[in-house]
């Protein structure tokens, strides 16, 4: 039991503990079990989305487009809860850009409104519109895009020219193909792509309906195969599970790094505060569907259920087991109470955003210049996420994980070694 070794004994938090009733290995096992369940749920929901997309392409209609949108919204619920696995697990981090890259220059994929503009300084392919262009030129080389296949999207188009905003795959590319641009600015309403963008023959709007359908089918297939791969990484014998279980200190660091990095730099900073301060209606995570309130909410819930070691699956069943919360509570009940309190406050704050959005005050309306109510709602979430990050740091300190897997840890142990 690693944490009972002398280093941990020296910390005030843990001195009273000769042995733990909660085994760290069991905590890590629960963490991996929850990951497996979440990615499996994401996969199940993505397959349902795939069926809905196939039905839309087979028989384009307003009803079938709506059914596909509904399936996409449902698919986001389990997936967003997996994001807490990103920053701490390199296997997830290296992969996640394929499925959830954001923000995107959607003009790469399909037609856009005139106000979107053309190529930018940074991205000469920002308005490429591959659906309308079977060939295009990149750095003087002609690229054949006549067949829109999963391979074309994944290997050629995604992050083409080294630009991260060239997002060709994943949830947000599919979202754009289902909803289209949200042209309502800070006003009511999400993207409103007509179902006839998938219609055959003369009924086709937006041009190239067959290529658009090919794109949507390919992107959905890729999403399913990518999620199959990730679910397997967390199953018994999977690489991600093995890595977490290989070393108790590293495993705990992975949990806490994921919780803290998602809370602070990513969600509070990049996704919430920055969008608010830019006052840009499209600077929201799910800008086409206006589903951002749910993205934020389920990200927060994912952080919480990893700490508590309890995840409710999409079929309603519960995956639970010994948790990080149990481990913290054993050595430092006050810190565990603080962490639970902070996580709950975050869920309340994100819940207020969700409630307001569902009642008609959409997230992009909250971002409008001078909208004080919206600013209060969003900053409430930001502040709560920052506050919970401070508690996460305290847990890292209390568990005495310092130095583990830390770049230059040799130098920390032996400063003089650095300069020899």
């Amino acid at each position: 039991m690693r944490l009972t070794l002398p280093a941990a004994l020296a910390t005030t938090a843990l001195t009273a503990l000769p042995a733990f009733a909660v085994e760290t290995s069991e905590v890590l096992g629960t963490y991996a079990d929850i990951a497996e369940a979440k990615y499996e749920d994401s996969l199940i929901a993505a397959r349902t989305l795939g069926d809905a997309v196939a039905a839309l392409i087979e028989a384009p209609s307003a009803e079938n487009l709506q059914a596909a949108r509904t399936a996409w919204l449902a698919a986001r619920v389990p997936y967003q809860q997996t994001e807490v696995y990103r920053f701490g697990n390199p296997i997830v981090d290296d992969w996640e850009g394929r499925v959830n890259a954001w923000p995107l220059d959607e003009g790469l994929i399909d037609y856009v409104d005139g106000a979107y503009g053309g190529p930018t300084d940074e991205n000469e392919l920002a308005a490429l519109n591959v659906i309308a262009n079977p060939t295009f030129t990149l750095s003087g080389i002609e690229i054949d895009a006549s067949d829109i296949t999963p391979a074309l999207l994944q290997d050629t188009l995604h992050e083409v020219d080294g630009i991260e905003a060239n997002v060709a795959t994943g949830y947000h590319a599919i979202e754009f193909l289902l909803w289209g641009q949200d042209l309502n600015g800070h006003g009511d309403g999400a993207g409103d792509r007509p179902w006839t963008d998938y219609a055959e023959g003369d009924a086709c709007t937006g041009g190239n309906c067959d290529r658009r359908a090919d794109y949507l089918a390919a992107a959905t297939q890729l999403l399913v195969s990518d999620l199959e791969w990730m679910a397997a990484q967390w199953a018994e014998g999977g690489a991600a599970r093995a890595e977490v279980l290989a070393d108790e200190g590293r495993g705990l660091s992975a949990i806490l790094t994921g919780m803290g990095s998602l809370s602070y730099g990513e969600q509070a900073g990049e996704r919430m505060r920055l969008g608010l301060m830019l006052n840009d209606p499209e600077e929201e995570h799910d800008c086409f569907s206006d589903n951002t309130h749910n993205s934020h909410y389920y990200d927060g819930l994912g952080i919480r259920n990893v700490y508590l070691g309890e995840y409710t699956r999409i079929d309603g069943s519960l995956v639970s087991g010994p948790s990080l919360a149990d481990l913290v509570a054993e050595g430092n009940p006050a810190l565990d109470s603080e962490m639970r309190q902070r996580l709950m406050e975050t869920m309340m704050a994100l819940g207020r955003i969700k409630t307001a959005a569902e009642a008609g005050f959409a997230y992009d309306e909250m971002l409008a210049r001078g909208n004080e109510a919206g600013e209060r709602l969003i900053m409430g979430g930001v502040d709560a996420l920052i506050a919970q990050t401070r508690s996460i740091e305290r847990i890292v300190a209390a568990l005495d994980l310092g130095g583990i897997d830390f770049e230059g840890s040799d130098s920390l142990d032996d400063p003089s070694a650095v300069f020899q």
Partner: protein, 328 residues
């Protein structure tokens, strides 16, 4: 890399020596914000007299110089306040787009100093001003034009922000750091937490310089990205990197009440590497030799970080907390 940089590493044992939170505030942070507020006051005054680009450039450069010692703090009032003073990087060109729109629409907010605080951060602060004063699309504007008025408004808004930030640090947040560990302090429950918070700022700043200020324009060997150089329009890319490194060393020296010989030597190597770079805005990064010189500077900045970790982090047995730049 994310795992390593994000690892929240931490205060293990009680600190053997109480490091200098007071010194960090009194020798570096608070004087830094006061000097920045004075420099923006001069800039705003200059803009009231003559808002044309050429007239404003010297005061702009001085204000940016004054910003750098405190630019990378993301703590207390600077957690949010720094973003509207220096919005960068801007990979999707929000600044250019937002300024173009304000000028084209002749938006009345362009002459409304009071109301300007509501405007997108992409059109506020040093980088918005830089775009107006140096980018060919804007910089030729005549006196009396919307763009000229906008430059004066941004300068005045920047001055107000600088005053507010200096005041918030001086009157409010400095005490939060100084009283760390006292029963009434809900932010820092122990003295160690305040030390760790400042220490985190130092390492985060150096990581930002290595990864964004230098790594941004370096891009990949096959695809360097000169357009990603910070403040390239005003020729400040190299200068900002050096000033940020000096600021990191100064803050580290204030935090430690002992000598930092390796850190000082590492800073000298940063300056030596910088002196060999010919293009102050890194636009020559497309030349492999020039790119290599930037890479040498990047390594020197990383070595400076390693020295500070060894001379302060190891001695106090602290590691950095979560970094606001974590994420993607």
């Amino acid at each position: 890399m994310k795992l390593l940089s994000a690892l929240a590493l931490i205060l293990g044992l009680a600190t053997p020596t109480l490091a200098g939170v007071d010194e960090a505030l009194d020798d570096h942070i608070l004087p830094g914000f006061t000097a920045f507020a004075a420099a923006t006051e001069t800039l705003a005054q200059a803009a009231r007299n003559d808002c044309r680009a050429e007239a404003l450039r010297p005061a702009f450069q001085a204000a940016f110089d004054a910003w750098m010692p405190v630019a990378d703090l993301r703590l207390g009032p600077s957690e949010t306040g720094a973003l509207s003073i220096a919005f960068w990087p801007d990979p999707r060109g929000f600044t250019q787009r937002t300024l173009s729109r304000l000028v084209a629409e002749d938006d009345p907010i362009t002459s409304d100093v009071e109301g300007y605080a509501e405007v997108s951060i992409a059109a506020r602060g040093l980088f918005a001003l830089e775009m107006l004063l140096f980018d060919p699309e804007f910089a030729g504007y005549p006196a009396g034009s919307t763009a000229c008025e906008l430059a004066a408004t941004i300068a005045a808004d920047l001055d107000r922000q600088a005053d507010a930030l200096a005041q918030a640090w001086r009157d409010r947040f400095a005490d939060v750091l100084r009283t760390a560990g006292e029963a009434t302090n809900a932010t820092y429950l122990t003295e160690d937490e305040a030390v760790r918070a400042i220490y985190t700022q130092i390492l985060s700043s150096l990581a930002f310089t290595a990864e964004k200020r230098l790594g941004g324009p370096m891009g990949s060997f096959d695809r360097p990205r000169p357009a990603r150089a910070e403040a390239r329009r005003s020729g400040r890319s190299l200068r900002n990197a050096v000033l940020a490194a000096e600021a990191a060393r100064d803050l580290a020296a204030a935090l430690a009440d002992w000598k930092l010989p390796e850190t000082d030597a590492a800073l000298e190597r940063v300056k030596d590497a910088a002196a060999r770079i010919e293009d102050s805005s890194f636009q020559d990064v497309t030349d492999p030799q020039a790119r290599l010189r930037i890479e040498v500077l990047q390594q020197a900045v990383q070595s400076l970080s390693a020295a500070i970790q060894a001379e302060i982090g190891a001695r106090l047995d602290i590691s950095q907390g979560f970094n606001s730049q974590d994420g993607d």
